[in-house]
Amino acid sequence: MQAIGPNPFLFIGAVLFVCGVICMTTKRNGIGVLMGVELVLNGANLNFITFSRFTPLGLDGQVFSLFVIVLAAAEAAVALAIALNFYNNHLTIDVDRGDELHG
């Protein structure tokens, strides 16, 4: 992939990251927020792999992205359990409705 170089990959990573952040901030659906987190983590992963390919970061980048994938799976499981609990208690998944601690 010498002809392409790291920059296009990093740009895709940036797009994923920005989309994830926008998704996290604007979605009112709790699971939509969770999807935003997944997008951000994937943007980071893509950067790790790109640097492992094009810079002396080497194998460490791949190891890090493996850890990120595993931790993202764990995070999704817990967040989903919380979302389902939220749904059970409020009968909606709209995160704006979870405001009873709002003084």
């Binding site: 952040v21 094009f54 002396p56 359990a81």
Partner: protein, 237 residues
């Protein structure tokens, strides 16, 4: 370098970005979930294109086949009737889109202003080395010495063995603090052992401890998620 790979790269780059944007834009949560599938699957292909076969396969197995199925389940359990579409206001959408474009511009201009090639001492350092039984397999002729065969090295690094560094296989010694005297012949797997001496530590750090921590963490998450999502027994009143 073949033009086929460049075509594939642009194809899957477009799929990744398009999927990510449609996750943002779409208001239907089910559509969002499947745009996310598209994005993450295309990212896995980009990983393969970058010579990280094992990570790409892990992305497919754990992320797309596991995590996303879980999320789709969550969507199906909660997206009943009116909750399928929870709309934000139009002003919010325009504002966030504007902020997103500015943010993307900042990030992208930062990224492209760095000349990464200057840090590039030896290209594709992680993935070019035939190692162990794989070296013999390459010699045997039925497994081409292709890039991207990082499975064994990844496994060994999880056991805190770092053949890619300690055997002086690929990393140029200049970029490391570890002094290695053996010459590096580019392209050929030089498999010299560094001289073992008691004075200085020769072996690089691996990832055994983080690996164990992650294993325990997964167990904790398993128990925690099962606890959170358990059926509540309603007290009779």
């Amino acid at each position: 370098m073949s033009s086929a790979e460049i075509i594939l790269f642009w194809l899957f780059a477009a799929l990744t970005c398009g999927g990510a944007i449609s996750v943002c834009v779409s208001q239907n949560v089910v559509r969002m979930a499947f745009s996310l599938v598209l994005t993450l699957g295309s990212t896995a292909v980009l990983f393969l294109l970058l010579g990280a076969d094992f990570v790409g396969a892990t992305q497919l197995l754990v992320y797309v086949g596991g995590t996303l199925v879980l999320i789709v389940f969550g969507v199906m359990l909660t997206a009943t009737g009116p909750f399928t579409r929870i709309k934000s206001s139009a002003a919010d959408g325009i504002l966030s889109g504007l902020i997103g474009v500015i943010f993307l511009f900042i990030v992208a201009s930062t990224v492209t202003s760095v000349r990464w090639m200057d840090t590039d001492k030896e290209q594709g350092v992680a993935s070019k080395v035939a190692f162990g039984t794989h070296a013999k397999a390459v010699e045997g002729g039925f497994n081409p010495a292709q890039q991207g065969n990082t499975t064994r090295q990844l496994g060994l690094s999880f056991l805190s063995l770092r053949p890619d560094r300690d055997l002086n296989l690929s990393i140029p010694s200049a970029s490391r603090k570890v002094p290695n005297t053996a010459p590096v012949v580019p392209g050929s797997p030089v498999m010299e052992m560094p001289e073992a001496s008691a004075s200085e530590p020769k072996l690089s750090a691996g990832y055994l401890l983080p690996f164990e921590i992650v294993s325990v963490h997964l167990l904790v998450v398993l128990v925690g998620a099962a606890y959170l999502a358990r059926t509540k027994r309603r007290t009779k009143s």
